[in-house]
């Protein structure tokens, strides 16, 4: 466990030194500017739009970090040959993979937490500035704690995307890894459509292929509860637990396969 922790802390330090936290400044500026503009343009709907925007921005900013740091986690170490000295220390390849992954998840956790806090600060400002008559017309309270449910699932989804990026980076180049991860992210969001593909195609082979893809690809749409929470619709704790368990199982499987591939790799 010690080796995993030490490698993870170094990944976190690298992301800080690589100025990843700058994205938080961009996020905050974007939210503040949007809330001001939207406040000028709409009446009554502005809090809903800000919630939509805040959650979408959390997801997109996190996605960029997960993909662009995730694909370099292993390949950068191999490319710059820093892995030679590292693997001569008492660190197994499995611990290296686990540490790298844990480090990026830690980076994401800090980022998502800070973004969530900034998001609530903006919402608090809106609640404070809007008159009670307008607040009464909102579908859900301005600082609705249910937003955290969406943030939680965004975080689990980002954990999954990170595991996908790490998986590709154990055997592929950074550019190809980025393309594959992004492709899988997009496919994952349309995965639910594959389930019922036989209803729209006549070819049995295509339907079978789609059904197979549905089972293998991650169903990322399950992690998207943004619309529900913004409109004040219920999202049960059972759903949160089951979806998180699904995501974490997928992560574990990807890490196992990544470790399997990486443990057999020659560093020429």
């Amino acid at each position: 466990m010690r080796a995993i922790r030490v490698v993870a802390v170094n990944v976190f330090r690298e992301s800080v030194r690589d100025r990843v936290p700058y994205n938080l400044v961009v996020f905050a500026v974007l939210l503040i500017a949007s809330s001001y503009l939207i406040g000028q343009l709409t009446a009554g709907q502005d809090v809903k739009i800000i919630k939509d925007l805040g959650l979408a921005a959390t997801s997109i900013f996190g996605l960029f970090i997960a993909i662009f740091i995730g694909i370099g986690l292993v390949s950068k170490e191999v490319e710059r040959r820093s892995i030679y000295a590292l693997l001569s220390k008492p660190v197994s390849r499995a611990q290296f993979i686990a540490g790298k992954y844990a480090g990026l998840v830690l980076t994401l956790a800090v980022n998502v937490s800070v973004m969530a806090i900034a998001f609530y600060v903006i919402l608090a400002y809106m609640v404070w500035t809007e008159p009670p008559t307008i607040r009464a017309g909102w579908d859900a309270p301005g600082m609705d704690p249910a937003l955290l449910k969406a943030v939680f699932l965004i975080f689990i989804e980002l954990m999954l995307v990170t595991a996908i990026a790490l998986f590709f980076s154990t055997f592929s180049t950074p550019i190809l890894s980025a393309a594959l991860t992004f492709g899988l992210y997009v496919a994952g969001h349309f995965n639910a459509d594959l389930k019922n593909f036989e209803k729209v195609v006549s070819s049995k082979a295509a339907a079978r292929l789609a059904r197979g893809a549905y089972h293998v690809l991650p169903d990322l749409s399950a992690f998207d509860v943004k619309t529900q929470v913004v409109h004040g619709l219920p999202v049960s704790l059972g759903y949160l637990g089951a979806t998180a368990a699904y995501g974490l199982t997928y992560v574990a499987a990807l890490l196992l396969v990544s470790t399997f591939i990486f443990s057999r790799r020659d560093f020429k």
Partner: protein, 326 residues
Amino acid sequence: MPSAIRIEELTKDYAIGFWRRGSYRALDRLTLDIERGEIFGFLGPNGAGKTTTLKLLMQLIFPTSGRAEILGRPVGDLDVRRRIGYLPENPSFYDYLTAEELLGYFGDLFGYSGADRRRRVSNLLDRVGIGGERRLQLRKFSKGMIQRVGIAQALLNDPEVVFLDEPMSGLDPLGRRDVRSLILELRDQGRTVFFSSHILADAEALCRRVAVVAGGRLAAAGTLSDILAFQVRGWELVIGGMSPEVLARVTPRVRRATEISAGRYSLELALDQSPDRMLAELTATGASLVSLNPIRDTLEDFFMKRVAEMGAGARSAMEEESRARN
């Protein structure tokens, strides 16, 4: 007590080509036994298989066949890694870390913490001569300074066996001298040093035993004196007070005569010529002996000769094997 390093029939083939059907043999049945407490030089030209061997010992690559042990345990054993140090060839680390942070990071991996880790890091950085730059990010370091950091990280855990891949690479003469004395210091502390180099002077200055590899194969192994003893190829007589007439008389019987200064000459005799007889003849004319030395092949000569022999042999053998495998 088991050997420090034991290598048996270690072979590494790389798959080549788009379909990976062809193969290239980077190391061919290497067998070596390195005793504890010695400095062992692993010599060969670029592409001879030195780095491949070290990577196999660090399990950065996996052998096609054969086996290797360090301190009696299989390579890759995590406990063994606590007892060894490794400097990769042309090392590269994390640009965003300072020298102090890098060593602190590796120290953490060995389980050192607090004051113990700080003391080790500080002592080592001072020892390799970059104590003053400890808080500078590695991106600002020169190649020579990175090499020194590399050496420091290889010694962080007081290793019993140290593997150094081209340790003098990128160092200025002062740096080379420092590293040589560091290696001798390690030997004096009872540690085993296995270092690869294509700079033969380093081996001559440091090693008792060496192995020479060429074309992925072991060309020779043994003590330096063993390897060089049978390579005596003549004699050099340095004579003082010799007149030009005497010189003219003996010149047809020597391989080469060179004037060093007025009346002092260096005479090179063939191996089958008796230096005693020539010396007696010259001293009878009033000349005096300054020095008499055997002319030996330097390691450089030996190296080049073996590489040329191995190159031709190894190339044809590899081509044959490659044809057979395909």
